[in-house]
Amino acid sequence: MSDTVQDVKPGFDFGALRARFAYQPVLLGMVALITSGLLAWVAQATQPAIEAAEARDLANSLAQVLPEGYADNDLLRDTLIIDDGGKAVVVHRARKAGEFRAAVFRRAAKGYAGDIHVLMAVAADGQLLGVRSIKHSETPGLGDKIEVEKGDWIHAFAGKSLADPPAAKWAVKKDGGIFDQFAGATITPRAVVKAVKEGLEFYAAQREVIAARPKAEGSGAPVAVGTGPEAEATTDAAAGKGPAGGASPAQVGAASPVKESGS
């Protein structure tokens, strides 16, 4: 290495100052202060763009599980947070002309390498409209056939419901069910089947809450529902963006579990 050393030592006795003990923490503190200031500024400057990109992602995946023209409302805003055994599940509701038609939500199950997240759309009558895997770290080439880009497998769920096939058949073929497994990878499809089945059970259990009309008319109103003791959530998808359509966010706490009219 031919390092071109051309150090310019500052004029006065800076070297002596630099060698003093007190100089070290002051220098470190200053650098930490400046860098954190910079980070705070960049984080703020990029936040709108990041939020927009994430909303776009979500909209894209919602569009994948719902048939085209199935809903005419803004699913990103018509959300409901349901406490499911300590886990908050964000449910997007699809409506057409105000009528509830389907629920879209995420489920996860443990796969071969970490959690597999699936997004599933369930029609009002409990029939699956579509399922997509949205996040996983399964082995490429083996387990990743659950991705729609890599195989048709995930389409097998469309049209199924809790009654069809019967509960015992909600499994991969190896376990006596109806769903194919992959050569060399059983754990992955097994996990997806489990996630989807649990999702359907979750929907069946919460159907009345999910399908309930928003209290205030106007489908844009986010409603938070808690079934657990400390679930008094505000919908994070809608919070901060302001209520749409003039309706104010209705919050229903744990004290009055929702059993709304008409359901």
């Binding site: 150090d7 220098l27 650098v31 930490a32 960049v42 990029t46 990041i50």
Partner: protein, 224 residues
């Protein structure tokens, strides 16, 4: 002076290449080089961090004291990486979904701390910037070469999804070399990375040895 710069560039690109000579930065290297496009994206991000870190540290070298230089370097580098991470998430979101996990790994790429310590803290801003650029390009070349080799054997394509990274005009880069190829899983998995890197290192070594041998054989008759 200009020969100094030539030396710096030569070092970065070949003689002291981050991957092929220093053998550092293996963690991001193995993780992202499943395709040429991923390698290129990671290379560009690393180069940006390398240049910025080198310039900042060279500019601060009069202020930084020996005793706390390493924590200061770490702070500067970690900040820059976070900035790149946020910026990519905001403006190159599709690529970020592929590389996101690994961008944070730039922070542990010892090539960057290494250049700060070995070069930037002892040189002026301009040479440090050139060094960062040369090292970054050298690293990018290695990432792309490894990525392309693994992609070709693993999936039969070259630069798949390049338009995501570089924009639609670069869609022409995307080629399918082997249509209908089933792919070779080994190449996409980490062992494939080690195998390809090993072969590349062997090739470089044998080329260098042959160069040396040629130099001596041509030198001998000249001396005789």
């Amino acid at each position: 002076m200009s020969s100094d710069y030539r030396r710096i560039v030569r070092d970065g690109l070949w003689d002291n290449n981050v991957v092929f000579a220093q053998l550092v930065g293996m963690c991001p290297l193995m993780a992202v080089t499943t395709s040429g496009t991923n390698g290129l994206g990671m290379g560009i991000a690393s180069t940006a961090v390398l240049i910025a870190a080198n310039v900042l540290i060279a500019a601060m070298r009069g202020v930084i004291s020996d005793q706390v230089r390493i924590p200061v370097f770490v702070l500067v580098i970690a900040t820059l990486v976070t900035v790149v991470d946020l910026a990519m998430n905001a403006w190159l979101h599709d690529l970020y979904k592929v590389l996101g996990l690994f961008i944070a790994l730039i922070v542990v790429n010892c090539a960057i701390l290494g250049r700060a310590e070995a070069f930037a803290s002892r040189n002026g801003v301009l040479p440090a910037a050139v060094d960062g650029l040369a090292m970054g390009i050298g690293f990018t070349l290695a990432l792309v070469a490894l990525g392309l080799a693994r992609e070709l054997f693993g999936a039969g394509t070259l630069f798949a999804k390049a338009s995501l990274l570089l924009g639609p005009p670069f869609a022409f880069l995307e080629t399918t070399v082997l249509p209908g190829y089933d792919g070779m899983l080994l190449m996409i998995l980490p062992p494939g990375g080690f195998i390809v890197l090993g072969l590349m290192l062997a090739a470089r070594q044998s080329w260098e040895l042959r160069q040396k041998a040629r130099a001596t054989t041509t030198a001998v008759p000249a001396a005789a």
